[in-house]
Subunit: 229 residues, 2 copies
DNA sequence: TGTACATCAGTGAACGCGCGTTCACTGATGTAC
DNA sequence: TGTACATCAGTGAACGCGCGTTCACTGATGTAC
């Protein structure tokens, strides 16, 4: 565990600064992020940024990965504080924390879950870290089945869907979950993100003010869908 | 009903051409649409476009309004062919057609339901036409209640949510719907659009191939949530 | 501990590009008498 | 039916701007001996 050299420390700090400025710019430019603007805010000539990121797309990639990780960490931490046996609350916490994080980072949410950035192809790294939150959610559901808090749904599934979901569940690292429950979970997960988009992007505007209460209601609906309790 | 002058006809045609070219550009540039590129494709000098749209934002607004109307018309037409009494199928048709339209117009879907365009403030016209599809969906649900195909849910709602939803239902032109059902409908509606985003934007990639079958499954889940049948 | 060299952060100029928007103009098409 | 004028579509040049990226450079900081 060698102490990092001052230069390495400074470098890491600068990288963080660049990313943090870039994140702020997301609010204004969306995914249409300008390296020059970032350099300006950093108080540095635009070409200097290239010492830290090889291109604009590289910076964008870093922001995306950071975003997924940041959300995942927030959710994992929150979920970890709930007693293992209280599966219902663990599920609840996962969903609530996803929403809270998204409200606190609306521009990153847009980057991660909104319209894909035109002309930007997500490298593998991003898609990997993208799955972490969902993984955790599925683990909670598996625990729910094991502890018999969540019943195994007896839904009929088309052959193709059943096969595809079974293949997904066979991937390394995935919790063992009944296919039928996975099918439901994917719908509920889409609902969660749909609700958050609607809230953050202003569909349902002129209508809902108390989003917290509204979200509570919808959480209930989601739990009902999973047969929780 | 005066016949339109040749000039007016030509003008209308050009406007349509511009919009259609612009729509094609959405796929490449996203909301970051270039007037000059559109002019180029139209085979015209860039300033000529200003005879038809006062600014880039105006063109964008036109595209957005057209998008909402196009989706609404597709859904309304499809729904109109289903016998009135078959409420379940009418609901089904509404959801399916929303998805079909979205798959056929993924870039417009992104424009309408994805990350908001940075720096673009939607004028009132857009938000009005945005609500048309949802209105139709709610009308179908109301018919479902009237024909007793859909039970009135007895969910408890927080005071604020109940009040807000009641206020929404009091707006002119809104179908009379039980608040509790509206609450559920809004969750399901978010789920519908969440699922479509996931499908079009490639979350759940590396997993689902047969999206039609998967969507069928989710449609079932949504109907269950509304208590249909 | 001191020196010689290598590494690295940041500079500033430049390349080549595309953008939205304005403006005075030309010439064709429409309208009024 | 013919003429005089008004309307309109499209031109081409220009303004002022910002962008991503490259490149040779300077000077400070680190490393090896």
């Amino acid at each position: 565990m060698t102490t990092e050299s001052p230069r390495a420390v400074a470098r890491a700090e600068t990288i963080e600064q660049i990313k943090s400025i870039a994140r702020r710019h997301l609010a204004v430019d969306g995914a249409n992020l300008s390296l020059r603007a970032v350099a300006r805010d950093l108080g540095v000539v635009s070409s200097a940024v290239y010492r830290y990121f090889a291109s604009r797309d590289d910076l964008l990639t870093a922001l995306i990965i950071d975003g997924y990780l940041s959300m995942a960490e927030a959710v994992e931490q929150a979920e970890a504080t709930v007693p293992r046996r209280d599966v219902v609350k663990r599920w609840d916490t996962v969903c609530r924390t996803v929403r809270t994080w998204s409200r606190e980072h609306p521009d990153e949410f847009g980057l991660l879950y909104g319209t894909p950035v035109p002309g930007y192809a997500a490298p593998q790294d991003t898609t990997d870290s993208a799955q972490r939150v969902l993984m955790l959610a599925l683990e909670v559901l598996r625990d729910g089945v094991e502890r018999e808090v969540i019943p195994v749904p007896s839904d009929r599934l088309p052959r193709s869907t059943r096969a595809e979901l079974t293949a997904i569940l066979a991937l390394p690292g995935l919790p063992r979950l009944p296919v039928t429950l996975l099918a439901r979970a994917m719908g509920v997960w889409a609902q969660l993100f749909g609700l958050i988009s609607f809230e953050l992007f202003g569909r349902y505007r002129n209508g809902i003010d108390d989003w917290d209460a509204f979200f509570d209601v919808q959480l209930g609906a989601m739990a009902r869908q999973l047969g929780v309790r």
